[in-house]
């Protein structure tokens, strides 16, 4: 099944063609830690050189292109550390790149006008991002190490008590505050004569939102089903 206006990515396609159609795939390469020059490489050649499972790469790229994934049993255990490193890299991207970028734009807006609303908006965004950080830290410190251990030992420790289902419980959705923030900027706040800064801020928020959305899809549709299948095998 596929969404009509996007291509379903396959292993013999050229990476550069895929990026031309959907530039977000550049970010995917970055999250995978792939920095090679692309030349005329196909998906399968690139994956082989980078030591990444081809199916995993295709699945994640296709999530960015709008295709859901529902065959987790086709992935292998060795994909788990790759997925974790992918997710870790995207955490760094949110914390070290996106967040400072967005805050800088908000402050720029602040510097020009003297709007109280923008100051409140900054407080609001900080509140939101604190929630995000809390979730990312939980993943980095508790969930991912557990998943990694599971991969290393290929079994669950008997009295561990932690499992993928406790992770899913924690996997609360913080998206709605980001949507609020975007709507405030887009529809309600009075920001005059700040066209370019406001646009850059909005673009940056859309980028953050899009990547966060795919991020949770990778966790929910790829990582968790894979982990659960290992857990079940050990019961």
């Amino acid at each position: 099944m596929y969404l009509t206006d996007k291509t379903y990515i396959k292993s013999d396609m050229k990476i550069s063609d895929i990026i031309r159609e959907n530039p977000s795939i550049i970010l995917v390469l970055e999250h995978f830690g792939i920095e090679d020059t692309l030349h005329e490489k196909s998906v399968s050649q690139l994956c082989k050189q980078a030591g990444i499972g081809e199916l995993l790469f295709i699945v994640i790229c296709n999530l960015y292109n709008g295709f859901a994934f529902n065959e987790p049993d086709k992935l292998s255990n060795s994909d788990i550390p790759v997925i974790i490193s992918y997710l870790n890299n995207s955490h760094l991207y949110y914390k070290n790149e996106k967040y400072p970028e967005i805050i800088a734009y908000i402050r720029q807006l602040n510097a020009y006008g003297h709007s109280r609303e923008i100051k409140l908006a900054e407080v609001f965004f900080n509140e939101y991002f604190e929630e995000v950080i809390e979730h990312l830290d939980y993943e980095d410190k508790i969930a991912f190490p557990y998943f990694y251990q599971l991969f290393e030992d290929n079994r669950i420790k008997s009295n561990d008590g932690y499992s993928a289902s406790s992770y899913l419980k924690h996997h609360s959705d913080v998206e709605s505050k980001l949507t609020d923030f975007k709507n405030l900027l887009l529809k309600h706040l009075h920001i005059n004569n700040q066209g370019p800064v406001k646009r850059k801020l909005l673009y940056s928020l859309f980028e953050l939102e899009f990547d966060l959305k795919i991020h949770s899809m990778i966790e929910e549709q790829v990582l968790i089903p894979l982990v659960i299948s290992i857990e079940n095998r050990n019961l």
Binding site: L120, D180, L184, L189
Partner: protein, 198 residues
């Protein structure tokens, strides 16, 4: 789901018919998402991910599988089913659909049949026409921005907590903002409350 987006699934094995149909639909209406589904069985696998509003299905695919088709329809009764008819088919099969499009019909007729379901079911006219908050909603918003809980708002305004919740729902629908702190900022920028009051 994004508001106002109409999700259509298309189960049509012929590339020619599929491409032609999507072309007609996309030209006629914006805010459409079209998904191609390879076969009827593939549809049930995709259900959890997408909220389909309507599915267009080649009638010949269910000719001998009426029972399976009826079960599918029962699983999600809100979905409308449109049949594509391009060959002789028995009349009983046709009654299973909400409407039938024929390949010799022109684009406009086809679109009218399909999108009559989008106009009646989605976004009731009240919420699209009237975007400003009602007096009562403004009252609720003022108290909400002051940090009051639903229960406290209900007590202050002498209304039931359900009424408060329903006002909050309408406020969020009209403003596009759900969180209390987001709504506070909205209230300030629209001069509904003033900074020294909070």
């Amino acid at each position: 789901m994004q508001s106002g987006v109409f999700n259509i699934g298309i189960i049509e094995p012929s590339d020619l018919l599929y491409e032609g149909l999507t072309n007609i639909l996309l030209k006629y209406k914006s805010r459409l998402r079209l998904y191609r589904i390879d076969e009827l069985d593939d549809y049930s696998r995709s259900i959890p991910h997408i909220d389909f509003d309507l599915i267009i299905l080649n009638t010949s695919l269910i000719q001998n599988r009426i029972k399976i088709f009826r079960n599918l329809k029962r699983e999600k009764p809100d979905i409308r089913w449109i049949g594509i008819m391009h060959s002789l088919i028995n009349a009983e099969t046709l009654t299973e659909f909400d409407d039938i499009i024929r390949i010799d019909e022109n684009g406009e007729t086809i679109c009218k049949k399909i999108f009559r379901f989008s106009d009646t079911n989605k976004t009731p006219p009240s919420s699209t026409q009237q975007k400003s908050l009602s007096e009562r909603e403004t009252d609720v918003l003022k108290l909400l921005s002051g940090g009051l809980s639903n229960k406290e708002i209900a007590d202050t305004l002498n209304i039931s907590i359900h009424t408060v919740i329903s006002h909050r729902k309408n406020i969020s629908q009209k403003t596009g903002i759900k969180s209390q702190s987001g709504l506070t900022i909205y209230a300030i920028s629209n001069n509904i409350i003033f900074l020294d009051k909070i």
